[in-house]
């Protein structure tokens, strides 16, 4: 199981703050994104290939190729706007 978190506009539009997802076999963030996109509607729209999505694994910035393992904390969020 991995823990998946959503922040800001993503959390609001998906209506989900966090959830547990079971991965089958070796996976990357790209694989996880395909699962999320497959849910359709807001998921497919927000995580479409042409959308700007930032991601982190265990609180470090990551990309689609970052591998995932059981127990990881994965987060998806829109481009950041602090400062």
């Amino acid at each position: 199981m991995i823990q998946v978190l959503f922040f800001a506009r993503f959390r609001e539009e998906l209506g989900v703050e966090s959830e547990q997802i079971e991965l089958n076999g070796p996976s990357s963030i790209g694989d996880l994104l395909r699962i999320l996109r497959g849910r359709g509607e807001a998921w497919a729209r927000l995580f479409a290939e042409d959308q700007r999505v930032m991601m982190a694994v265990n609180q470090e910035l990551a990309d689609k190729n970052t591998p995932l393992k059981a127990g990881d904390e994965v987060a998806f969020f829109p481009p950041v706007t602090g400062g």
């Binding site: 978190l5 609180q59 910035l61 950041v80 602090g82």
Partner: protein
């Protein structure tokens, strides 16, 4: 000594600068950047701002940016303070203060830290206008500023 902190309450930038200086007589230059809440964005009057963050990762990201500044420049102390929660126009949002022996290092490190913070630290602004609430979009010019530091060979 370096310090990064996330604050849910308003802070006084002058007080933070005093804490950064302490009584260290070796400091010859002190550069500060203070980001303030503007009352106009994208041509609309902004009544309020709400800042969300990713507890845990945000502190970590700020510390990594400060560590990177220390590895690039000979600086003595850094202090980064960032607000979260509800803000009103004129409220300080962020303070970046850098102390060094000579000015050049402090100027460059301060600009580097705020440029990186803008594109790498997980904060999100939501603003309230007369029409309602909206999430603030990231700016391409901020990405360009971060990229420029990656290209430059200092």
């Amino acid at each position: 000594m370096d310090s990064v902190s996330i604050r849910a309450e308003p802070f006084d930038p002058n007080r933070e600068v005093e804490l950064l200086r302490g009584n260290d007589p070796s400091i010859g230059a002190l550069v500060t950047f203070i980001g303030l809440m503007r009352d106009i964005n994208e041509g609309d009057r902004i009544e309020r701002l709400y800042l969300e963050h990713y507890p845990g990762m945000t502190e970590r990201a700020l510390q990594e940016i400060v560590d990177e500044a220390n590895s690039r420049w000979d600086i003595q102390h850094c202090r980064v303070v960032h607000r979260v929660g509800a803000l009103l126009p004129t409220d300080p949002i962020v303070l970046v203060a850098v102390a060094s022996r000579h000015r050049k290092e402090a100027f460059q490190a301060c600009e580097f830290i705020i440029d990186y913070l803008k594109t790498r630290a997980p904060f999100w602004k939501k603003e309230t206008t007369a029409e309602g609430e909206r999430w603030v979009d990231a700016r391409e010019s901020d990405d360009a500023a971060t990229l420029a530091w990656e290209k430059s060979d200092i």
